[in-house]
């Protein structure tokens, strides 16, 4: 994806901070923190991803930024304005695509986009031209003058996206913008998201889709159980000393996980799939070990490649049906004893 980012850089060479969140706490039910000591900052002209599982507190955080929810403590500063005290400023400065549906029943796509553009202060002519530009570039012409009652979920999401970006705010907040959108239009949509930064906006992208986020964002925060558990560029989050290779094995059906050699001490097991990080030096013994398992009919296939953001995410957040297996753990003794020899050979 092309990244012709126009970023405002201050004299010291660091991008200006647009949004600064500091030590934010929020609980709905007393004692259960939905946001727990969240601190992060968004810089001018960047796409910042907010990733996390369901119930991690992402939407609550966004709702506090746009003034729908009030924090228990902590501060949110937008352009040095305290938006906890001035939520009206936040709504003026932020344009927003909610995760929920937008109230566009009875309106055509064009009417909905133009109305929000006018409400956001755009002139009638500018808004009309910009609405057509978005409709054209996202290939929505067929639906432009049809009422939303007949729209699919994906088309409603696209209209909601256009409503958020027709007159973009200083910060454009997109909550799961590609849900239900077809693959072709997803690519077009990501191009429009990147184009927003060229128009001077900063984008806060809330998503579950890690693969799309990895390609789209400049920086990201991973949120879990209300806390920020990781933050940085996708590249920096993937760095972990020398462990920058991803080793994946798929076990044959009905075969249980084997005893793991020392270099696989932090392995995530999801069903028949084992994923771990390796140093480049461990690659050769790992391949030898995996080949041995394959010959024994225990491993169906294996692969080694650069680590992905999804691996980092799973490691930080954990997964409902994934468990980390520590060295020597197994739940199938006969295979384990068989494999110990291979592990020893591979590890030596």
């Amino acid at each position: 994806m092309k990244r012709d980012v126009t970023m405002k850089v201050n004299e010291s060479g660091v991008q200006d901070v647009v949004l600064e969140i500091d030590k934010l706490h929020k609980s709905y039910v007393r004692g259960i923190l939905v946001n727990d000591n969240i601190s992060l900052s968004l810089r001018q002209g960047e796409i910042f991803g907010l990733l996390g599982p369901n119930g991690a507190g992402k939407t609550t955080l966004v709702n506090q930024i746009i003034g729908l929810v009030k924090p228990d403590s902590g501060s949110i500063m937008l352009d040095s304005v305290d938006i906890v005290a001035n939520p009206g400023y936040a709504r003026q400065a932020c344009s927003f695509q909610a995760q929920t549906q937008v109230p566009i029943t009875g309106l055509t796509a064009r009417q909905a986009i133009e109305l929000v553009g006018r409400i956001r202060g755009g002139s009638a002519r500018h808004v009309r031209e910009r609405a057509w530009e978005l409709i054209d570039q996202l290939e929505m012409e067929e639906w432009a003058n049809k009422t939303a009652d007949s729209f699919s979920g994906g088309m409603r999401r696209l209209v909601a996206f256009c409503m958020a970006v027709v007159v973009p705010g200083r910060i454009v907040i997109l909550d799961e913008p590609t849900n239900d959108v077809d693959p072709l239009r997803r690519r077009l949509l990501w191009q429009k998201v990147r184009a927003l930064t060229g128009m001077g906006s900063t984008v806060l992208l809330v998503t579950h889709n890690i693969i799309e986020a990895e390609r789209a964002v400049d920086r990201l925060a991973i949120v879990n159980e209300g806390k920020v558990v990781g933050m940085g560029t996708p590249g920096s989050l993937k760095e972990n000393g020398n462990n920058n290779m991803r080793f994946e094995l798929i076990l044959e059906p009905m075969v249980e996980a084997p005893v793991l050699p020392e270099f696989m001490q932090h392995t995530v097991v999801t069903g028949q799939r084992l994923v771990t990080r390796l140093t480049e030096g461990d690659m050769a013994p790992a391949i030898q070990w995996a080949r041995g398992l394959k010959e024994m009919g225990i491993v169906e296939e294996f692969s080694i490649g650069p680590i992905t953001l999804e691996d980092v995410y799973v490691k930080m957040v954990g997964h409902a049906d994934a468990q980390e297996m520590m060295e020597g753990e197994t739940n199938h003794a006969p295979i384990a004893s068989q494999l110990r020899t291979y592990a020893k050979v591979a590890g030596s």
Partner: protein, 245 residues
Amino acid sequence: MPQSLRSYGLMLKWQALSNKPLLPLEAAVQVMIAVGFVIGLSFLYPDISPTTAKFLTTGAPTLILLMTGLVLAPQIIAMARTEGTFEYIWSLPIPRMVYLAADATVWVLVSLPGVVIALAIGAIYHGFSLEVSPLVVPALLLVALTGVFIGYTIAYGAPKPQLAHLATQIIVFLIMLFSPVIYPIEQVPSWLATLHRGLPIQYMADLSRGTLTDLDVNIGLAFGVVSAWCVVAFIITSVLIHRRR
């Protein structure tokens, strides 16, 4: 101010377009309610007197306005809260009172055909002429707005949207059967009459009667009580829509 007026116009357009598919149905329901009150209820009285006919006819506008404000508007808002679309509107850069003004305007306009038709049909069917005072416009506007604002307090104040739905169903029942709108207050038990002296419903009916007929009504008292309810409901609504979770 011009910015607020611009936002008002845009929100009015949005609300009107959103309600467009429902408007014919809503208007038809209003007409049916009007005919039901004015003609249907008169079948309860085999030998209907001119006074009773006037009560029925002039009570209908109040009932229609209250049905819209206290029932229809809160139900639509409760539906938006359930769907989650409501918070989207709140995230837009428009003053919330401006949104509310646009919403209230739509509901008042939706009620108008039913009010006019009820009065016209009632007067023709029962054979009396309306004595229309210039005060009828502010009087009916006040009734409509009070109904809408009380409806908003239910819609925004209910902890869950389902509770707002339930509350509106109970209110319909109480207004239709236990309120001195289409019959005089003297016909209800004394305890209920005492209760109604503090509620706005009979005064809303008085506003309609006092500005459309020659029936003896304390119009000043009616304006005073209904205005007070309107202001209180407006203040509560304002507090409710500006609160943050």
